[in-house]
């Protein structure tokens, strides 16, 4: 049972619960794609309905990685994101745990208009990820970086198509 004060906010990410097929483009300095890869993204409720968890896999388990030497699963980037609505801060905050790099990232998120913006700060840059064009069975997502207060530059885009609803 989700506590009522949290339930009112949980749908922001709860709307993504289910599994998604993703297509990710890594962008070069001029903003054009330099590589593309397919992946999977699974969203679910967790922590007794107090959080939205998601598991990110790139490439998808159905795809072979670039090495092609039979060790595909070891090369796969698998990450876990724990998303919690923070009543005290009136903001989404979450951690992303990467098994590929063993790093843990702390991010904040807020709905802005029809989009959802996630952000984290590093000493020399801000990084943000923007969910946009959100529909029941598709959404898009872009990753951008602003260095030293400069303009936002896209570094990655993603399109997602729902494969299951739960």
């Amino acid at each position: 049972m989700t506590p009522a004060p949290v339930a009112a906010h949980l749908q922001l990410f709860g709307q993504f619960v289910g599994t998604w097929e993703t297509r990710i483009a890594h962008l070069g300095p001029d903003g054009s794609p330099v590589s593309e890869v397919g992946g999977e993204w699974e969203f679910s409720y967790g922590l007794d309905g107090r959080a939205v968890l998601d598991v990110w896999r790139v490439p998808a388990r159905t795809a072979r990685t670039a090495g092609g030497d039979g060790d595909d699963d070891a090369r796969r980037e698998v990450g876990l994101c724990v998303r919690i609505w923070d009543l005290r801060l009136q903001l989404w905050r979450f951690t992303f745990h990467s098994t590929a790099t063993t790093t843990v990232l702390h991010l904040y998120a807020h709905g802005i208009g029809a989009d959802i913006v996630m952000e984290r700060a590093e000493p020399d840059r801000l990084e943000r990820w923007v969910f946009h064009d959100i529909r029941p069975d598709t959404f898009s997502w872009r990753s951008e970086v602003s260095r030293d207060g400069g303009p936002w530059r896209p570094v990655q885009t993603l399109t997602a198509r729902r494969t299951t609803a739960t």
């Binding site: 801060l89 991010l107 207060g149």
Partner: protein, 310 residues
Amino acid sequence: MVDRGGTAERLPVEVICAPWSIGLRPDAAGAEPGTWAAPRTLLDAGLDRRLQAVTVTELPRPPYRFEAQPGTRVRNGVTLREHTLLLASAVGDAIGTGRLPVVVGGDCSVLLGCLLGARRHHEVALVHLDGHSDFTQPGHPGHPGAQGLAALGTAAGTDLALATGRGELLLTRWPGVDGPLVADHLVVQLGDRTGEALPAGLLVIGIEELLATGVPTAATRAVDHLPGGSPLWVHVDLDVLDAAVLPAVDSPGTPGLTYDQLSELLARLRATGRVVGVDVTIYDPHLDPERAHPDAVVACVAAGLLAGTA
């Protein structure tokens, strides 16, 4: 509902104490700066009595962290968000009950909670009285990050940028507000002595112009710039006073105003009948061990805010 017309200046005052230094870098000795002690020191000097305050609300003192907090490069950024929301509730409640909130900081980052509280009732324009424009963002030579990647930014040095929606999401996106706390065209900065260029939408009346044209002309120009009828929040960083007048602030400088000039400026703003709240910041009692200045600060603020009232 608050009367923002000509009777607004008769609103009873509620003093709200925001005892914090979390928006500042550590002092020269590497310790927490002393602005957190200003509310109690100014109350001891009679601020609430002189303002004829009907209520004094004292908010908790937030802990000051020296290390970075997760996901932010603003010093105490997470703590500041939490206490901004607490301050906003107090300011919003004061306005909602027909009082004039006078928020006593604390450092300049209290501005965010003040504006957020006022925004719970209506859009506001901002008169930013400060010896600095407080617009120092990453990439600016004055930003602490320019001293090295390990340095953290400070909210008190960038409060006006944050209030106008520039900076980390953590401190620029707030519940119930779609966009920045205050739009560029609703801001007048008065008293900057740095000459730092601001975005074109904000009106800046620097200290040289203010002193050259005089307080009445500058006040008229400031008020005329802001759309008629829009409620005003007045932010007072006491470093707008000349360092010869009040050296016990975080970043003293010269030229600056005298106490009489600041009182007159506040009185002229209050006389518009549009002022819905005021914050007074950055006096540091730790820099004033003899307590040479609280009486003068209190007299200045009281004279400015009560001028012309019965």
